[in-house]
Amino acid sequence: MATKDDVSRERLFTRRALLLGAGQAGLLSVLAGRIYYLQVVESSRFQTMAEENRVSMRLLPPSRGRVLDRGGEALAVNRQNFRVLLNAEQAPNADAVLAALSEIIPVGEADRRRVLRELKRRRSFVPVAVRENLSWHEVSRIEINAPDLPGISIDMGQTRYYPFGPTAAHLVGYVAAVAESELTGDPLLELPGFRIGKGGIEKIHDVALRGRAGRSRVEVNAVGRVVRELDRQEGTPGGDLSLTIDMALQDFATKRLAGQSGAAAVMDVHSGEVLALASVPAFDPNLFTSGISARDWDELLHNEYTPLINKAVAGQYPPGSTFKPVVALAALSAGLVTPEFRVNCPGHYDLGDSRFHCYKKGGHGSVNLHEAIAQSCDVYFYELARRCGIDRIAAMGRALGLGERTGLDLPGERGGLMPTRDWKLRTSGIPWQQGETLVCGIGQGSVLATPLQLALMVSRIVNGGIAVQPRLTRELVARDGGFVARPPEAQSIGVKRESLELVIKGMEAVTNTQRGTAYAARIKEPEMAMGGKSGTSQVRRITMSERDAGLHKLKDRPWRERDHALFIGFAPVSAPRYAAAVIVEHGGGGSAMAAPVVRDLLIETQKRDPSRRQPPGAPSVAALGRG
């Protein structure tokens, strides 16, 4: 029986149930509205975010161009290298991931701190290299444990390798990790383990060797693993750069100077191509690519023989008697002396109250220009220098390439010094003294030159007074346009041929006459014979009392205070083609220590001269080369 009570209850229930249903319908409408809002109104924003989630842009580092010698011998190449990377974006807790990784492969405390530091510094999507040069065993261990190492990935990269090690270290330079101050905003530089040139050719031609990065768009999943590549835009590998250097000759020069501290430069007097540019001792550039150890670095830094400095272009030395040809040319050009002009050398030269000594105690007697060069008579050149004045000498020095940077494409080149009266007044405020002119006349005092400058000076004298420029790069072979270096049209330095001939004859006599200072170091094969000029430059002033006591003997002095031994030479005398300059730091006498090195270098250079292997009537000098 349906009671009245039941009926009213049923009505109440029906009303309330309908209200509940309406409430549910209302809430479902809210859901529908929310879905409409997300999927239609805000859809494009979320689509962008989904794409950002899904697509990751990866830079493809270009492979660095090689550095080759003139014969195609590789001086800098790339080798495979397995690295383990950490991507901060996918590893919110980098510390824990590193701890887990260190249980699989050894990770040093220094590496760990470096990684954490770099993670803070770099953009979160740029991975940081944890360790490099992994072995196959380590790579496979990491791959197996990959699920437990979020954000860790293996990357096959390339490392720079220098097959010749120290032999061409100063020339080729080295690459190393990008320092913070070198970041330019180019994301390529922020790639983990990316290396840029830090010295030598690697630094000067870094951009050409570096190439341009490619881009790869990849689809990644939530933990950052690459699912597939969407598209790829290949980069441009760096160009291969050929140098003018003949690596065999470079190697010969380095070995010839082994054990000394010194430098050697050999160049073609016509084209300006530098065939060898050695500085010893050197360092192994391969130490830098993987990060040099603090101990190795300390050793290089504090070595007395300064292995980090490229002495061939950055070492400045008083040229000593090798400077005398400059003074001779200055005097001849100014018409102040004739070839017959004679000076009597009693072993010293008096100027006012001062007495200037000739290195030969008894004196040379009466000498003309030819004899003065051959026997390196100091008194003769005191007289010439006094007559010329310092400004004429400096002008001739500059014309021959001294006193300013040659512009060779190597970092750290220095310009030497050609003093003038102006310069002295400007820099010290004290007027130039005539005594200084005399000292400069024998290449001492404030005159400074680099070995490369000395080789250039010889070149400009023996090539007939043409202002040739030294060159180191021959050709860049790159996919996006390289270059072939051509020597610029060289101007004459404006010195008369006869004057040059006089000086050249004098230099020939240095090595080829018995009274010449370097007769012992002559080249005996007539077709290869060399001319040259020795030089011994004082590092420290010899006091009167020492001179009297005979205490200025080389061996009695500590290494640092011994004289520098220099020699400049050219060959063959019949038609000069090559010039060379050598310095042996604190080596003693130039004719004894440096001249034999130049002799051997010039013999080796001429033996390797391709024109000697060609039949007569072969192309002219400028078109030659083995590239």
Binding site: L18, L20, L38, M49
Partner: protein, 384 residues
């Protein structure tokens, strides 16, 4: 009355009669929803029936069998079983909490031999049936008095508190809201709801102090999703990205990037709706919500046609719980409510939730079949 005039004596329904009265429309809708579930799980498994889709299908077919069997059982049996089931559920809830205390950590399962039991699932059904039975036994006058409202309030709050400390915020909320809706349907005065709401407001600090760290984080993250984009906020942000990027028509079946690249968490369970939204867009969402709405519509239609208070109340309670599942889940993945871990009925992967939902639907069908049966205060059939 007209129905009785047709000469159908509801007490003497034969099995054949019952089978004929079965709500096949409801069964069809349920199968359609479960079918969408299979489809989405196939996609979630990476275009594979393994590991989820095929098992989901098998489970649904088994659960459908259980539901049909339940439907054919006389409604009086369910009325009589309501309190015993509640008692068993309550004991199991206490047991699981104690096991959780001993095991030091969240515990929702009870291992009994090879079977895992989730007492909170039993409790949801038992609570609905018990409340239905309780209100069935009250007169309209009694329903209006405060003393009679206290026992059912405890029947809701005690198990909800037990579930809360498991901790399972989602199920607790579901119980309280579902129970509340039944109070409302039973005719409890509106001012009493106001009083309860006030009390709840006062209890908030207490509730806060009872919550675990991760639950508090979820609520704080819900209030400010940018608070921790890579931590707790990550899931909801990724879910919104997936949903929003689906657009009107979706990215296409098996083409969802957010889900297939694992940006979407729990894509086979709680966040399966997001996956549907990503692959089938707003159109897909509306189809599924439409199917759910049809089921709710049928449930309310059944409730309104029932002759007994027990049947009406049970039908409304089941509809309410079903609705709350759908609403909380979808509101959660769209970022409208905090992440509480409520599955989407019949679509999310998970055997227990599937079975619970289908038991509820089976009871609904049983109510439908026995809608004309009139029951006395104690569950006895009244012949008129």
């Amino acid at each position: 009355m007209a129905r009785r005039a047709r000469g159908l004596n509801p007490v003497d329904l034969t099995l054949m009669d019952k089978a004929l009265r079965l709500n096949w429309m409801l069964a069809l809708l349920l199968s359609a929803i479960a079918g969408i579930g299979v489809l989405m799980l196939y996609s979630a498994g990476g275009a594979s029936l393994q590991p989820w889709a095929s098992r989901h299908l098998v489970r649904f077919l088994m659960a459908l069998g259980v539901a049909l069997a339940i439907a054919l059982v006389d409604i009086r049996v369910w009325l009589r079983l309501a309190y015993p089931a509640y008692a068993v559920g309550f004991v199991l809830l206490v047991a699981v909490d104690i096991a959780g205390q001993i095991g030091m950590g969240a515990q929702r399962w009870l291992d009994i031999g090879p079977i895992q039991i989730q007492p909170s699932e039993i409790m949801k059904i038992a609570m609905v049936l018990s409340l239905a039975r309780y209100f069935h036994g009250l007169t309209a006058e009694e329903t209006g008095r405060v003393v009679y409202v206290i026992p059912p309030t405890l029947m809701v709050l005690l198990p909800a508190a037990l579930v809360m400390i498991q901790p399972d915020l989602g199920t607790a909320a579901l119980m309280v809201l579902g129970g509340g809706a039944m109070f409302f349907a039973a005719g409890v005065r509106l001012w009493k709801f106001g009083a309860v709401l006030m009390a709840a407001g006062g209890a908030m600090p207490l509730l806060w102090s009872m919550m675990r760290e991760y639950q508090r984080n979820r609520i704080l993250t819900f209030i400010d999703p940018e608070r921790d984009p890579l931590g707790a906020g990550y899931h909801i942000l990724q879910s919104k990205i997936a949903l929003g990027s689906g657009g009107m028509f979706g990215k296409g079946f098996l083409e969802g990037t957010q889900s297939h690249l694992n940006f979407l968490p729990e894509k086979q369970t709680d966040f399966i709706f997001t996956m549907l939204a990503e692959e089938f867009g707003m159109v897909g969402c509306m189809v599924l919500l439409g199917l759910y709405s049809l089921i709710l519509l049928i449930a309310f239609a059944i409730a309104l046609r029932c002759q007994s208070m027990f049947a009406r109340m049970a039908a409304v309670g089941i509809a309410m719980i079903f609705f709350l599942y759908v609403f909380i889940n979808v509101a959660m993945v769209t970022g409208l409510v905090p992440v509480v871990g409520v599955p989407l009925p019949l679509v999310s992967y998970g055997g227990t939730a599937m079975l619970t939902a289908m038991i509820g639907m089976g009871l609904l069908m049983s109510i439908d079949i026995h809608r004309d049966m009139r029951l006395g205060r104690h569950g006895e059939a009244l012949t008129s």
